[in-house]
Symmetry: D2
Subunit: 349 residues, 4 copies
């Protein structure tokens, strides 16, 4: 911790800040600058009350030196983590591809989609059963019935199921039906939910909140790891900025940056990250070129009739084209994209 004193700081003020540092079990080094005094506090920063150092009488600013997370850091575990969940493998050169509709709507829709995305090379099926919707007047999901339909789609195709859980009390139920529990962007800060999936044996896909910093996101992962669950995939799905032509802004520099900070794999969601069908293929390719470990993409048999997110869903044909374009990029990166095999036509997206 670096504590920058105000230029007006008196020796007594500095002494007080030193005492505050020592009270937290850290050692204080005083550096006398030309205009200001700086106190470098050495020791464990991840302790309750650390931010109270900012309240010293003549403290101007405080900078952290250590990352606030531990178990999620690459320093704690230098080798990259591979997450495996049924048919899905993500990390260390395997690019997992999760595809499917925003919401499970009915049996025909989910089975048809599962088959189509599998044929195009996807390795897991997404589909929402519990939907966190901005408006109480929107479709709220089929709930348990939706989970059963997802299980049926898995039985038909062998694809692992990825679905969202929105409440701690639903975790056991959802874990019964799905290989991967998704924490949605709006629940990234729902610490009770993070604790609940941390105690669970299923893999977790942790979406970044639209205004979460990298540190906040990795601390959310830390809650899950700290609960005993090591199978965490991070998912960048776009942040909120002044840009209005896309639903969110998809900041792909997150991918290489986060991969340096953590051993956990990073999946990209170009559907929510752009909010427009026509931008999804280009951003899928870009995500892979940036080094992403996976993709999660919305696909629907008839986007115009979708009960949610139709405007950002691909048709089966569009998804197949997208996979063709992505495959060529993955090959250029010397990585394996989903279950892509030579039998698929190498279309360009």
């Amino acid at each position: 911790m670096i504590i920058v004193m105000k230029t007006s700081a008196t020796p007594a003020d500095i002494e007080q800040s030193v005492k505050n540092v020592e009270a937290l079990g850290m050692k204080a080094n005083i550096i006398q600058g030309t205009e200001r005094t700086v106190i470098a506090a050495v020791g464990e920063e991840r302790v309750a009350g650390i931010r109270s150092l900012e309240s010293g009488p003549a403290v101007d600013e405080v900078f952290s030196i250590l990352a606030p997370y531990k178990m999620a850091s690459r320093e704690a575990k230098p080798e990259s983590t591979t997450v495996r969940a049924g048919s899905l493998t993500v990390g260390n050169g395997q690019i997992g591809v999760i595809a499917g509709p925003c919401s499970v709507e009915n049996e025909e829709q989910i089975i048809a989609t599962a088959r189509a995305v599998q044929q195009a090379g996807a390795t897991a099926l997404r589909g929402g059963a519990f939907k966190p919707r901005t408006s109480p007047y929107s479709f709220q999901g089929l709930k348990k019935e939706g989970l059963k339909l997802l299980a049926k789609a898995r039985a038909e195709t062998g694809l692992a199921v990825v679905t969202e859980v929105v409440s701690p009390s639903d975790v056991p139920l959802v874990a019964e039906y799905a290989e991967v529990l998704q924490i949605g962007a709006r629940n990234m800060h729902n610490y009770r939910l993070l604790e609940a999936v941390g105690r669970c044996e299923r893999a977790v896909l942790l979406k970044r909140g639209p205004s979460a910093t990298i540190d906040e996101w990795l601390l959310a992962a830390e809650y899950i790891l700290d609960g005993g669950n090591p199978n965490v995939m991070l998912c960048e799905r776009g942040i909120r900025t002044f840009e209005a032509h896309t639903r969110f802004t998809l900041p792909l520099a997150t991918v290489p940056f986060v991969q340096q900070k953590t051993h956990l794999p990073v999946v990209v969601d170009p559907s929510h990250g752009t909010g427009h069908t026509h931008l999804v293929p280009a951003m899928s390719r870009a995500a892979i070129a940036a080094g992403a470990d996976g993709l999660i993409v919305e696909v629907h048999p008839e986007p115009e009739k979708a009960l949610s997110d139709g405007y950002q869903s691909l048709t089966f044909e569009q998804f197949e084209d997208m996979m063709g374009g992505c495959q060529r990029i993955a090959a250029a990166m010397e990585r394996q994209l989903g279950e892509w095999t030579a039998t698929q036509p190498a279309r360009t997206g």
Copy 2:
């Protein structure tokens, strides 16, 4: 709903969009422009699937005409709502003042703070028992023990208790101890929690999420109103922007804007909204001058020793000064600030 077709739209594309509009029970008006065709869809926009209109074959953009919320709108209820909860009154000229520590830490701390803020004119006591913390290594709150201490502070002072609830399953417990249930900014999108407090009889303080739009915020209120609970106070606590010198950016134009859109009262949180003790008094005054219906402010006996948020907490003396400055602004606005009486010294903040 206004549907703007691409310049390349064919008559068949336009016909398809008209059919999509009609399938949702709306009437389509076609407007032939010089460069583009626009379809004005007349009817109820607050229906499941409305956004699928964006997926039409040659649709360029879609604009909503109606607010997505109903019960929260001023059109639904033109007169402003006054929320009353024990000693706290907010709205219609009464500026409620909620003050207290970020976290309840121990009996001495909460009782001393309750007395001090009451003496300075506050009309409710805040204090966190269940704390949603970014880091699993931070102080997580005293939980039920904290609620009991808050009840003791109420018994001593008569101040209504405002405290956060973070999980649907905790709602009954917290409602037993508190007059006002606070939904924190990070839970604004936790729809299960909104539904749970919507079924509760306690008043609710609904904080705005740091990247929530006004519509998303009022839709969160709609969840609560729709559940049957009319006693909702909105709370602006700052948004996330590129500004790094404050913890969040406090956009006070929200206050008059939201007051036009909704009948619900709007409280401002200058503590989280700035993140720095020294900015709190100025922004408290500004909030009142902008027409805010209430304030919620962090106060701690010894901010330097606070287990959370010390850097943005006021000391008792700083809070008393702040109230003096605010009182003069409230008087200029012909409003009543908390329990301010002539016996308090009229200090300037």
Copy 3:
């Protein structure tokens, strides 16, 4: 400068960074932490090449300790600056009020507006002659003709003229007609223009760029001060954020924050800061309550017919009402608002 080394840094890496520090004339203090080494560089940070310290072989992050500006800092000049320009006084308890149309359109418009705003208590007249417009198809201003009309309005009323200059080559011409040269938000980073007004004897109103940090804004002021012109007023006019219901987001915490960092007075522009007529009065009051040293407000005889910015302009009557409300807040702050006298009716805004 604090240089945080990577955990992987070798002694040779650290030695290299120490050499880089010393090459810039600074002294390096090495602090050995539990996980990382930190180098505290003591000395003048405001030198060319300082940021190259980030390029050291194993450098993780670099933090500045000193403000990057000197002459603008309160440390360089502890007492607040009062700027005087003809009838306009801003700072040290005098709240200057600059009002008038976005663009000078014709003689009748500017003279009528000058008289109306003066009667309501304004102390300077604004009006654009050279207009920087986003679109080449928008009204570009009357240019020299507009300056002459402003001079005529001053002759009629005695009000100081505030008008924008958009090119270094126009500075002499504009300085001939105006008491205050305005640097618009879109020119805050136009360093040639800053240098030109720095060499001029007229006072300068320096608007903050919509995505400028506080440091960048004060460095822009530093360019002017460094050129020899001490009469700089800062103007907060809103920043670009994800908020779409206002044209910009007006972050009033800037006012007290910047007043701590600099001795220069801070004026607020609630017209551009909100972009909506109906939000201007509330934000004008809030600005004064936050401690602003001045206001700049758009006023037009007939906003519906304005050639620019009509949607954020006040009518004469609305401005008079606004001034009434502001006057009550200014009185509560024990400050003098413009030329407000007892002869004006004390309306509430």
Copy 4:
């Protein structure tokens, strides 16, 4: 133009808005909704005073239907533009690569860099002679001397020169030495400068302002096109958001989005777009995968000793590696990257 009336609008209010529409030469269509009346104004929207429609007595909101730019739109020119300037070709499958130092520092530096980037496949040399610097205490560039050194580097290598111009009065001088005039991000709104390069015969690289919307950026291009210069390349270089781990946020979805709206080619700047050397290669690859028409990258012989931007510059070896990685992505996209030939080693970046 779609004008949404307030629910409180009277027939007289609607009539007034219709008159305002007609006064601008447009035709008004009145659509009577269930809750509100909407006026669809048909006709040319790109006229002075159009925004005054927002000032109508009971107008709630106004939406534009037509893009505000004309000549830059793909509707005006459906086929994509190829820009050629000396050795540089950008557009229609040719990915131009512009590389070189932030600032020209001395002859040895610029000649060595020109040779190195050419050998690695770059097709143009960048280098700043006139530097717009945030701080008056930073290195301001070698000015005319720098231009001469760039010309010398061109003489040695044949590479086209891309360099920034910061003032209208410098345009003739810079145009004498450079094939491409760069408008920096901070000058995107400097309309006098845009007009000046619009009258010039040199190609222009127009950087996006860090808080400019797409419409504002394309309107800046419109100024240049409108001046008679058709050779405009757009350059996305990152926007300002709450993300602090990168200098700016590089929103690559801009690339496919803008390519739909305009016929002008889109270049990406991963150096300013990330601000960190180690993120540049991944974002260069991602830009190409997203369909970018060009790259502009900072390269320096010794980034640690650079007078500006060293922290985001690549060494010669890093640039060569980056080009190897990009080449594989370009090949996967069936595009030609710079002057890449089989003689270069196909390294992976």
